[in-house]
Amino acid sequence: MAKVKNWHLGRDMEYVYEENRPKRQWSIVFDLNKCIGCQTCSMACKTTWTSGKGQESMFWNNVETKPWGSYPLGWDVKVLEKLGHQEWKKHEPYRGKTIFEAAEPTETTVHFFPTDEDWMYPNNGEDDCTGNVSHGTHLNLPHDQWFFYLPRTCAHCTYPACLAACPRKAIYKRPEDGIVLIDQSRCKGYGECVRSCPYKKSMYNPYTRTSEKCIGCYPAVEQGYQPMCVQNCIGKIRVMGFINPPWKARKDNPVDYLVHQMGLALPYYPQLGLEPNIYYIPPIHANREYLTQMFGPKVDDAIKQYKKIKDDPRTQGLLVLLGSTDRIMHSFDVKHGVAYGYDEKGDEIVSVPVIEHSYERPRYDSKYEAVRNNTP
């Protein structure tokens, strides 16, 4: 076991291999306040990568309704239950154990193997609210009864459990962009990655008899384009970019800005210890305890920050850049009411007005003798 730095936890932790950060790290930020659960991302991924034999119930990108939905069934509750009760005090490093540290001596991680059937209900719990709304209830914030959509891809973790668990060393993390891949020519289908990835983003293909996972759309990323699930997001809730660790963060990098500069976006289940590289702007009206369990003790601050965006044109600008370009934005700027995204060379690839122009027209049009209303 090696000692590695995990900034999500604010401390060093134990991992099977030495710390070896890639030159840059693939990353996606999702604004959960805006996800409409349309599953376009799931279909974009599916039609691009997993429409073959043995991939019938394989969704590298899935969207589940929290708290009742999960794919594979119960992945999150099972992992948390296996890990057991752990403490994380506000403004302190995580003192609990990670899945690596809590592993039995004969194992690499704390894990479970989902059953075959567990993968067959990707829509389980979809749109289910926490409970019934009783008579006489009125609107409260945060909501008494709630749900939110959680879109998920592989997190191309800095400390992947899938990679750590593979006894054949058939999984590798690319030094150029941090994308974690299963070498399809060497995998023997042992399923140790399926067992060990706590997010259950490594999946077994019974037709090829190998394990497969999200490839971060590396062919697109290599060409400077964002992944399919990001490009096709209807709700424009996502941005893919390269995240730096906090000690190298750049204010003009869209992902660094949301994660480090503003503290708006948080990793999910960081306590598991993988330093996952998908980040979420938490849904502000959902139950706070649940959110704390999922995103850690920084969730209160993230929500406070989110509520300040109405007075913050720079952040507003960045949020309107989400979903406005297929290209990877390496930097951004907001000036004179316009948000700009730039490529690696600093050339402009997109510009969007922060506030769209709106026109007000009289309710009654005397020329056409017609009444106007707001129905689109």
Binding site: E56, F113, K169, S185
Partner: protein, 282 residues
């Protein structure tokens, strides 16, 4: 010899087995577990322990004992291996693993390499029989419908009818959309032999070599709850291990109980090399 001695002390319960391959006149290239040639061949008990070197390891040893019979005909050598298994497991669906057995031989003569799959520059030659591969050999590689008879996929976009517009894009060529196959992983192809031959130079380094000669056949007896597997190989395997009549060599074993979720490094092994004497005229 010193290594063998000290390991035997560590694993006090492990008997140092001594396998003797008797010379016969029967042609062994096609021998099966039920053949009469095995009748009078003594069974050598070989003790196994739960693999203990690398994680993940089995928590308990599911296969404490394997019985080994060995014969050769001057060209071929055959091993008949018997062990207890509560049920038969041939893998298939997600989370199902195959019963399997492996025999390992040093490639170089002289003192053998580390038992854990050899080392760089001192490789081992492995014969890996899997119930799953035998099923392939007998019934063909399972289609999704064989694994999930009630499954009803809307369509596979790559299975479109060949209208002739895309020249030469036949079913076989479309398999490039199956990643394991496209990258040439032997795992993803129909196995025509129940035995894979592998050369390894250390843990996690194994690669399958083309298997044209060795054969294997297993029979599961549900009453006795036993697997009996015969693996036969030519004595001389160019680019692999070379066995000779009159030789005092080494071999090792591993067993996986698929139904107990054993796969990869979750297996029972011989913790030290077992001696293999090939009897008969040199």
């Amino acid at each position: 010899m010193r290594i063998i001695f000290s390991l035997a002390l560590v694993f006090g319960s492990v008997l140092l087995a001594d396998i003797k391959a008797v010379k016969t006149t029967t042609d062994l290239s096609k021998t099966l577990p039920a053949d009469s040639v095995w009748k009078d061949i003594p069974k050598e008990p070989v003790n196994l322990v739960a693999q203990y070197m690398v994680n993940p390891k089995p928590k308990v040893n599911h296969t404490p004992l394997i019985e080994v019979q060995a014969i050769h005909d001057g060209q071929w050598i055959a091993f008949r291996l018997t062990w207890k298994a509560d049920s038969k497991s041939e893998a298939g669906k997600t989370g199902q693993f195959s019963d399997a057995v492996a025999m390992q031989f040093p490639v170089k003569e002289g003192s053998p390499p580390p038992i854990f799959m050899g080392m760089k520059g001192n490789p081992v030659h492995i014969f890996h029989w899997r119930a799953q591969y035998q099923k392939d050999e007998e019934k063909g590689k399972p289609e999704m419908k064989d694994l999930y008879p009630n499954m009803n996929p809307d369509m596979y976009p790559m299975e479109f009818k060949d209208s002739g517009h895309v020249k030469g894009l036949n079913a076989e060529k479309r398999e490039v959309y199956s990643p394991g196959k496209a990258s040439g992983n032997p795992q993803s192809y129909q196995k025509n032999s129940a035995v894979d031959e592998i050369v390894a130079e250390g843990f996690g380094s194994s690669s399958v070599i083309e298997n044209k000669m060795s054969r294997g056949h297993g029979v599961y007896d549900p009453k006795q709850k036993t697997w009996t597997v015969v693996i036969s190989r030519p004595l001389v395997r160019p680019n692999g291990s070379v066995l000779k009549p009159g030789q005092n060599g080494f071999m090792a074993f591993a067993v996986w109980q698929g139904a107990k979720q054993e796969v990869g490094s979750r297996k029972a092994i011989t913790p030290n090399w077992v001696s293999l004497q090939i009897l008969g005229p040199t």
